[in-house]
């Protein structure tokens, strides 16, 4: 049991180190995706499958793909442009090391203080777990993580959606450089034709499962975004992207969350509360709207449509 943990921890550190030291940013992005997938395994080991799903879909998938997209864009511009390309230096640049020892020592000191601090904290096994389990019947949501996200700490989730909306509005305000048209790839088109419907089904399943077991709007939204992006890369005839990333769709989740939070909250006597008996349909409605908005947001974060 401990041997597996030790192996996982070592592999995790090795992947993180090699991602940071990789020769090109593209290689680094691929290593980062591998790092994220391994971290998802660690979350499963630590008993947090909901986090594992979010990490694999959003932390590893979306973040890695965003970095890789930008890196290949920079690279193609550098090769295609007239600007003289310098020799490709591995990072860290050898000559850059001498005066930076102070920084390295400072970072080491910070990490040492952090380690000492966390080692001094007495791990609280199950304190909040018990509190959640005690109040779970009252919340009428079977899955504890969903209950925390949408009932006990609904303000957090509401503000998180607001942050996501602000980020996507800011991203859309900075116009993306035009992307070159993707060549038609028959293999990718075939794979996508099978994968995209399957991914849509998985997204709906994750949404429905969220009320009783692991899953939920965030994971479902990420899978939805993956399906739309795959359809786009494979040039499938369905391209809902241009309509999907319009502001009303992006804001739908937040708007419905606030509306239900106020109306149902007024009936229940507390903002963001739910009247008893109506919890499951209301939570599912919020989660469905959130899934669409999160999916659209993640698609929008990747930037302009094909024609842009």
């Amino acid at each position: 049991m401990n041997a597996i943990d030790l192996l996982l921890a070592l592999a995790l550190l090795l992947l993180a180190g090699s991602a940071l030291l990789a020769r090109s940013v593209q290689t680094a992005s691929v290593l980062f995706i591998a790092f994220g997938l391994l971290l998802a395994l660690v979350w499963v080991r630590l008993g947090a499958p909901d986090v594992a799903l979010a990490e694999a879909a959003i932390g590893a998938g979306v973040a890695g793909a965003l970095l890789m997209l930008a890196a290949s864009e920079f690279e193609s511009r550098r090769i295609g442009g007239s600007r003289a390309a310098g020799p490709r230096l591995p990072w860290p640049r050898p000559q850059g090391w001498r005066p930076r020892w102070a920084l390295v020592l400072l970072a080491l000191a910070c990490a040492a203080v952090l380690l000492l601090a966390v080692l001094a904290i007495e791990p609280l096994a199950g304190a909040a777990t018990e509190a959640v389990a005690r109040n779970l019947p009252q919340s009428e949501i079977a899955h504890p993580v969903t209950a925390v996200l949408l009932s006990f700490r609904a303000y957090d989730t509401l503000l998180e959606i607001a942050v996501l909306l602000v980020a996507v509005v800011a991203v859309q305000a900075a116009p993306a450089p035009p992307q070159r048209a993707l060549a038609h790839d028959p293999v990718l088109a075939r794979v996508a034709a099978i994968t995209v419907p399957l991914a849509l089904l998985v997204a709906l399943y994750l949404l429905w499962a969220g009320s009783s077991r692991s899953g939920g709007a965030f994971q479902a939204g990420a899978v939805l975004a993956g399906a739309v992006l795959l359809a786009r890369f494979a040039s499938l005839p369905l391209d809902p992207q241009s309509r999907l990333t319009r502001p009303p769709v992006l804001a739908l989740g937040l708007a419905l969350f606030i509306l239900i939070g106020l109306v149902a909250g007024a009936l229940a006597g507390a903002a963001l509360g739910y009247p008893s008996g109506w919890v499951k349909p209301l939570v599912l409605a919020i989660e469905a709207a959130l899934m669409v908005s999160i999916g659209a947001t993640l698609v929008a974060l990747f930037g302009g449509s094909k024609t842009a």
Partner: protein
Amino acid sequence: MSGVSIWLPTGSALVLFGLLGMLLASSILRKLLAFNVMGSGIFLLLLALRPPGPDGVADPVAQALIITGIVIAIAATALGVRLARRYHQLSGQTELPEDRAATRDD
């Protein structure tokens, strides 16, 4: 819970790696990658301090906080990547002026 304590040094080491990457790398994209590694280390510390109970399920509050954190991190990363792309489009550079000056001086 001896199995959990191994994640405390691991999380601290990830924070260290991320910190070093953010301080030493000159490319903006590498800094963003390091920022994500550092965030992962912090999430790992957060959950390692709330070990799973006898039923093997980790603290739901910590799980919800980490899921929120992952989504916020992707929002910040996406904004950073878009700004880096715009900066590269306008200036042709992948590094910030301060970092370029620092590497030239060496």
